[in-house]
């Protein structure tokens, strides 16, 4: 009987949208199967979306994930506008992209802090979250709320950029750019952190491409997957973005990719604020959207966000399918593990998405001889000794 090897990963972590419970089937040393059990925060959003009209759905879909709420609303609004054949005025599109980039900055700083906290480096966690407050203030003055900005409307945006908001965003971006340069230096030069990140969870470009990994995790392995570059939406056509990729493919490369793509966001925000197109903020939007289906893809901080919206001509959607980037990265990590030894599990799990950490890392190896219990550390130690024996 193949051993059933379960990693019970705790149900709560601030940056983790869907806390999960991992299980790996092993045959001796080699992993034969892996699966994950989500559902701790499953609220049945897709069914609820079918019971509400189009405008109410924006408020629902914004609360799928607190960290990238604007991106969910943006994807939904772009999809419904495509269905209705309406397109938001250029100024609204530019403001939407502006808020999306500000949200990417806030999400990456949050992740930087939480990943440092996971590695036990609390000072970096405190500093990263202190600097994140600058972008939260900018977002608050701009849209009225720190999280869940609900700036999106069907057919436009609610909030406008006044000169003093623009000047505050400029100041925030300048300060953050200088801090990002500092953190990039810390990530690469600090030994105690490099010790925990260099060479951890390496993923080759072929694996990344074949597994369908999304976002910064793919770009850290050299696979250029960024919807803003590949299929520009909203105002990304007028304000193009340069792709940022690394080749090492390990945990440190992911740190570097996430931080260096922030420089792109700063450049984009400045260029949007400089050439903000004039015009009104929203257009008329019919209450009933004509029947049809559409797919809208948007680049969330963690990867490609996929929306499939089907309308049957009434004022309520017939089907709203949401596939979040974390689910896709999770799925690809499960396949990356198959065929590898037990010793590789912690590296790959921690490596693929360093923000996927957990409080309860005890590992239980259930086999026919009963249950052997290891901690994450013991498992990691097992990995190190295993490789030392082979060398």
């Amino acid at each position: 009987m193949a051993e059933k090897f379960t990693i019970p990963i705790g149900p709560q972590h601030p940056a983790l949208k869907e806390p999960g419970h991992f299980e790996f089937m092993v045959d001796g040393e080699i992993i034969t199967g892996a699966s994950v059990r989500l559902g701790y925060v499953h609220r049945g959003i897709e069914k609820a979306a079918e019971g509400r009209n189009w405008t109410q759905d924006i408020y629902l879909l914004e609360r799928i994930c607190g960290i990238c709420s604007h991106v969910h609303a943006l994807a939904f609004c772009l999809g419904v506008e495509q269905l209705a054949g309406v397109s938001a005025p250029p100024r609204a599109q530019a403001i939407r992209v502006l808020i999306a980039e500000l949200e990417r900055i806030h999400s990456h700083f949050l992740w930087l802090g939480v990943a440092a906290h996971e590695a036990g480096f609390d000072t970096l966690f405190m500093y990263a979250w202190r600097d994140r407050e600058t972008v939260m203030d900018a977002l608050e003055t701009f849209t009225g709320n720190r999280v869940n900005y609900s700036a999106n409307l069907l057919g436009g945006v609610k909030c406008d950029v006044t000169p003093d908001i623009a000047s505050q965003i400029y100041r925030a971006v300048d300060n953050l750019e200088e801090r990002t340069r500092h953190y990039l230096n810390v990530i690469t030069s600090d030994d105690s952190l490099a010790e925990r990140t260099r060479g951890v969870g390496v993923m080759t470009p072929e694996q990344a491409d074949q597994l369908g990994v999304m976002g910064p995790t793919a770009r850290a392995s050299g696979v250029m997957r960024d919807i803003r570059v590949v299929a520009p939406y909203a105002a990304y056509t007028d304000f193009p973005i340069q792709p940022v990729t690394e080749t090492a493919g390990d945990l440190q490369a992911r740190f570097i990719v996430r931080l260096s793509e922030l420089f792109e966001s700063y450049r984009l925000i400045r260029s949007i604020l400089d050439h903000l197109p004039a015009g009104d903020l929203k257009t008329r939007m019919p209450r009933r959207v004509k029947a049809g289906e559409t797919i809208s893809r948007v680049e969330a901080p963690r990867g490609e966000l996929f929306y499939f919206i089907r309308s049957n001509g009434t004022d309520m959607p017939d089907r709203v399918k949401v596939r979040t980037p974390t689910l896709c990265n999770l799925a690809s990590v499960l396949t990356l593990v198959i065929g590898r030894q037990i010793a590789d599990i912690p590296m790959i799990l921690v490596g693929i998405d360093p923000c996927f950490s957990c409080n309860d890392r005890a590992v239980s190896l259930v086999d026919n001889k009963g249950e052997r219990r290891w901690t994450w550390e013991a498992l990691r130690q097992y990995g190190i000794d295993y490789y030392r024996r082979w060398r």
């Binding site: 036990g120 480096f121 600090d190 105690s192 925990r196 957990c358 409080n359 890392r361 901690t375 130690q381």
Partner: protein, 303 residues
């Protein structure tokens, strides 16, 4: 020493009460310093006192499947171990209240009694985090104990005696002649107190709270007190040996606070080392450096 003097020394002045208050004050200073280094305001001056009293007043849950006597007894043992160790140290710059030749060895073992109690507590409960925390505490104990002890025996060799009061009263600034010993002693103290970067045994993001996961109420308070007393004991020991002895209370205060600042700043600068890195680091670098240091001492003695 009349019985009354001994009782006062034991319970009030250099002994129990003063060290407890001193320990709480130093814990506050450490937490405040770390908070200030992390750009935060940090706790108020009476925070450790409030924490301890609150924990004392909380309900003590004894989980089933646990030996109740051990569960309640071990924290008391840990605190008494730390408190008796303090008797041999020149607390507050005054000569130590009790001393006999060879009390350095006794103090070192009494100081590590706390770590042994923590691991026993962890092994005693059947919650997997406590067991894992206990195993990690023990592995780390074997890692830093040897170099830490060598680092503290260095000055004893120079002073040609095993008695703390004599070593302390030789007034020479050994930090100059034995810098490596001083460094290893400081880092060893951080390992003993499980301060980051050596806090793998109670890594909050990995094994919840390590060996003390099951404790609430009095047990937890006693452990925190024991750790606070051990912080004071460790600092006085290193200050007495390496910073030219402690002559008066002001001297004591200055030197121990200086060491505390060094401790806190190292703590904020480093990420948590994995248990494999700490053990590897100690045995590869700690022991070798100490042997080199001892070589120098021996040469010094023979010339």
């Amino acid at each position: 020493m009349t019985l009354l003097q001994m009782l006062i020394a034991l319970l009030i002045f250099p002994g129990g009460l003063f060290v407890l208050v001193n320990g709480l004050a130093y814990q506050w200073a450490r937490r405040k310093l770390i908070a200030r280094l992390q750009n935060r305001i940090g706790p108020r001056w009476f925070q450790p006192l409030a924490d301890t009293i609150k924990l004392m007043a909380k309900e003590q849950i004894i989980p089933d499947g646990v030996n109740a006597l051990l569960f309640t007894g071990l924290p008391v043992l840990a605190l008494t171990g730390a408190l008796t160790a303090v008797l041999y140290l020149p607390i507050a710059g005054l000569p130590s209240s009790a001393s006999f030749p060879g009390d350095l060895i006794v103090t070192l073992y009494l100081l590590s009694l706390l770590t042994i109690c923590t691991s026993l507590v962890g092994l005693n409960s059947n919650d997997r985090f406590s067991v894992m925390g206990a195993l990690r505490t023990l592995t780390q104990l074997f890692a830093y104990e040897a170099p830490f002890m060598l680092a503290l025996l260095g000055p004893a060799v120079v002073a040609r005696s095993w008695e703390i009061s004599q070593i302390a009263s030789s007034w020479n600034w050994l930090i100059v002649t034995q810098p490596i010993g001083f460094g290893i002693a400081m880092i060893g103290l951080m390992g003993k107190l499980e301060l980051p970067p050596f806090d793998a045994p109670e890594a909050e993001t990995e094994i919840v709270a390590g060996a003390l996961t099951e404790y609430s109420g009095r047990g937890l308070a006693l452990f925190h007190l024991a750790r606070a007393v051990e912080l004071v004991a460790g600092l006085t020991l290193i200050a007495a040996f390496y910073l030219g002895g402690l002559s008066n209370p002001l001297d004591y205060l200055l030197k121990t606070l200086l060491l505390l600042v060094a401790l806190a700043s190292i703590q904020t600068l480093l990420a948590r080392l994995r248990i494999t890195q700490t053990v590897g680091g100690w045995w590869r670098y700690g022991v070798l450096l100490m042997l080199a240091q001892w070589l120098v001492i021996m040469l010094g003695r023979t010339l």
